[in-house]
């Protein structure tokens, strides 16, 4: 049975794909966007749900180019069922999952498993990213052509940068023919040498081994050179340093086919967060494993460069790098704790801070979460990241001014590992719509949802 039509009325429509930025109505029928236009001008069918979106932003469903759903293999950290529900709560209707599962997504069967599980147990679209090399060992290429046919939207050995420049070069040659991006977690493991956090004054104070910024920049520079050589599409994952931004800027000026992403945490937190410092407070010294992430949290100057990069278009996309872990993975010595932040459910609140502070405008933010990642994914899965009539109705509604306090206990994700615990955010997802169905609605906004049988004729 087809779900009734849905009218989203009076919201602030933001759709960078059509240049939309104003108050209007949106009509959804049969799972697709049926109509978009000025408030009150829609001619709705008799039976419908309405959402009174006054004061809310209505935009295409967010697309996360980089997350870890952990299934198969690490179901104690996250499953496709919980991860996609966490995504919905965060306003994401499409998530691209990284292949560092067990078994890794380096073969047809694993990709197939993820896709089938997502269809039966997931609530949002799950697009797999396949491994560059078999078992992410950096030695032999995967059957990239077949994996592309299976639906991989790109290739990455995430977490394990391909150390061999020769293998990386071959991967780019091969992927170039498939027109899919190579997505690299840029890290020279040799230079990082088991480091635990950014190399700097905090690592010195805490007596923790540091990861120099150059460990990232060396591989960014290498990959850019290889992208230029091969003509392949390159996507740099979670850029964290000022110099990486500059390298990518220069490469784009030269016309190299590179795109880049930054994460909400790298855009807002500094290395001081590791020792428990929060803005405005000088708390007791701690070793906060929830702030342990790779690449590590850097400095104010790096944050400024990343934000400038977003505004200039050097950084195309904001991706969460959602990396859920169990309590056991994190409640241990800093050096033994797992790297990663559970980020799907805090992304919007965190990023809206940048909008409220005037560092990023709302349309740019929405673009980095919708249109830009959609461009990188391409149209293999239909048109994503748009409110254009005829396209699948994947929509996020959020209240840009709603204040809320982060509590990991309320996370749907199994990963409660957040450095934002107790933070007050301004900006909250109200509802997430996937293919016309409301797959998430926030408890504290029940009054905006109505079901009416208006103008019913006898």
């Amino acid at each position: 049975m087809m779900s009734p039509s849905l009218l989203i009325s009076g919201g602030h429509l933001v759709d960078p794909s059509q240049g939309t930025d104003g108050i209007g109505d949106l009509l959804i029928a049969e799972g697709k966007i049926a109509w978009i236009g000025d408030k009150g001008t829609a001619s709705p069918p008799p039976d419908l749900y309405t959402i009174d979106a006054t004061g809310l932003v209505v935009c295409p469903g967010f697309i996360d180019l980089h997350c870890h759903l952990r299934e198969p293999g690490f179901e104690d950290k996250e499953t496709i069922a919980t991860g996609t529900r966490a995504a919905a709560r965060g306003g994401f209707t499409t998530v691209c999952c990284m292949p560092n599962t067990n078994p890794p997504l380096d073969n047809q069967a694993s990709i197939d498993y993820v896709k089938k599980t997502a269809q039966t147990q997931g609530v949002v679209r799950v697009l797999p990213i396949a491994c560059i090399t078999k078992a992410r060992q950096g030695k032999e290429l995967t059957e990239m052509s077949e994996l592309a046919e299976m639906g991989a939207i790109g290739f990455s050995d995430d977490g394990d940068s391909v150390a061999s420049s020769r293998i990386m070069c071959l991967a780019m040659d091969y992927s170039q023919a498939l027109a899919l991006p190579i997505i690299d977690h840029c890290e020279d493991k040799e230079l990082a040498n088991g480091g635990l956090m950014n190399e700097g004054w905090v690592s010195t104070r805490l007596g923790l081994k540091g990861i120099p910024v150059a460990a990232e920049e060396i591989v960014v520079a290498r990959d850019l050179a290889l992208a230029q050589l091969t003509g392949a599409r390159l996507h740099i994952a979670h850029v964290s340093t000022r110099e990486s931004v500059e390298l990518i800027r220069r490469a784009k000026e030269k016309g190299i086919a590179v795109t880049a992403e930054a994460t909400p945490h790298h855009l807002t937190l500094t290395e001081e967060r590791v020792m428990g410092w929060q803005a405005g407070k000088n708390d007791q010294l701690t070793y906060d494993t929830n702030a342990k992430v790779n690449p590590p949290l850097r400095t104010k100057e790096d944050i400024a460069a990343l934000i400038k990069g977003l505004n200039d278009g050097v950084i195309d996309v904001i991706a969460t790098d959602h990396a859920p872990h169990t309590l056991v993975d994190k409640m241990c010595e800093f050096g033994l704790a797992a790297f990663g932040i559970s980020g799907l459910e805090t992304a919007l609140g965190c990023l809206m801070g940048l909008v409220h502070s005037g560092e990023l405008d709302l349309v740019t933010l929405v673009s980095k979460l919708t249109l830009e990642p959609a461009r990188i994914i391409g149209t293999k899965y239909g048109e994503l990241g748009t409110l254009s009539p005829g396209c699948q109705a994947d929509i996020t509604l959020f209240d840009p001014n709603k204040e809320w306090v982060v509590s990991s206990q309320g996370f749907i994700s199994k990963g409660k590992n957040t450095p934002f615990e107790g933070y007050q955010f301004k900006g909250k997802v109200v509802a997430t719509i996937f293919a016309g169905d409301i797959i998430y609605q926030a408890d504290d906004f029940a009054d905006v949802f109505h079901f009416t049988k208006q103008g019913k004729k006898s």
């Binding site: 004054w201 010294l285 070793y287 010595e333």
Partner: protein, 336 residues
Amino acid sequence: MKVTESGPGTTIPEAFPPPLMDVWQHRHILDLDDFTKEEIELVFEIADAMTEVLTREVKRVPTLRGKTVVTLFDEPSTRTRASFELAAKNLSADTVSLDASKSSVVKGESLVDSLRTIQALGADVIVMRHSQSGAPYLAAQHLNTNIINGGDGWHAHPSQALLDLYTIRRHLGDLTDLKVTIVGDIMHSRVARSNIWGMTTMGAQVMLCAPPTLFPRGLAGFISRCRLPNVRVESRIEFALEGADVVMMLRLQRERQQSGLLPSLREYIQRYQLTLERLSLAKPYALVLHPGPVNEGIEIGPEVAHGAQSVIEEQVANGVAIRMALLYLIAGGKNK
């Protein structure tokens, strides 16, 4: 301090008043970064009384009778562990000595669970040595038992720094404006880090000296961000030693050379070993300290290690008094 006299010149530490809580603010001893000058002086004052106890024929007072002190060490240690255990025994505490490298930690139990078990067994104080920086902070976060950091990774070794300060004070008095030169593997040294806090709090000038590969890269930022104008950095030992009142040599682990941080031990010995000739660049009465264990012939020449200016053995003896003072301050006040 007020002490009860039981005879001429004899103090009875069991009748110590409870620690002066208006001065003493610590439930745990994790590092010296949050110690005030007054607190450090209080430790010294009590250590003086404990030193007196150590001169007696029966070096034992009942101050911590009925208390249990557990030492949990996951790294080999002779002096720190023995020193804490003797300190606890001298105060009549019961001691339990656990080797983390052979215990439940190896069986897959998490550190927090192991510590909770020790707490449940009735430990009043846990002295822990851990190879991971920050491990005692994790313990302090999850336990009610008092924690003393017996050295964590590269981070801190507060009881060592206190005994270093105490040893210097006993020879040179007030530490204000003394020039203390610390030479060696600064990057990996918890002793150096804790001493930076302790020395600067007491008003001393600290000169750090190491080969460029054994300084942490963030050191300059650390000095400026933590507002430590009295800390300076110098790679050439001859300049670093000039006019020093105290020279503290750090142990050089041979693994450092194997991991490529040093071209050769030979070059380290040539450039950085404290010889009599180099020591002559310091003040004539300069003290020579070393936290041990000493690699004689590597970071320090035998003629210096055993020379007239060396107080290395005295450091060890003072370590017992300092640790008695710390145990008393942490555990002695509760049942009074």
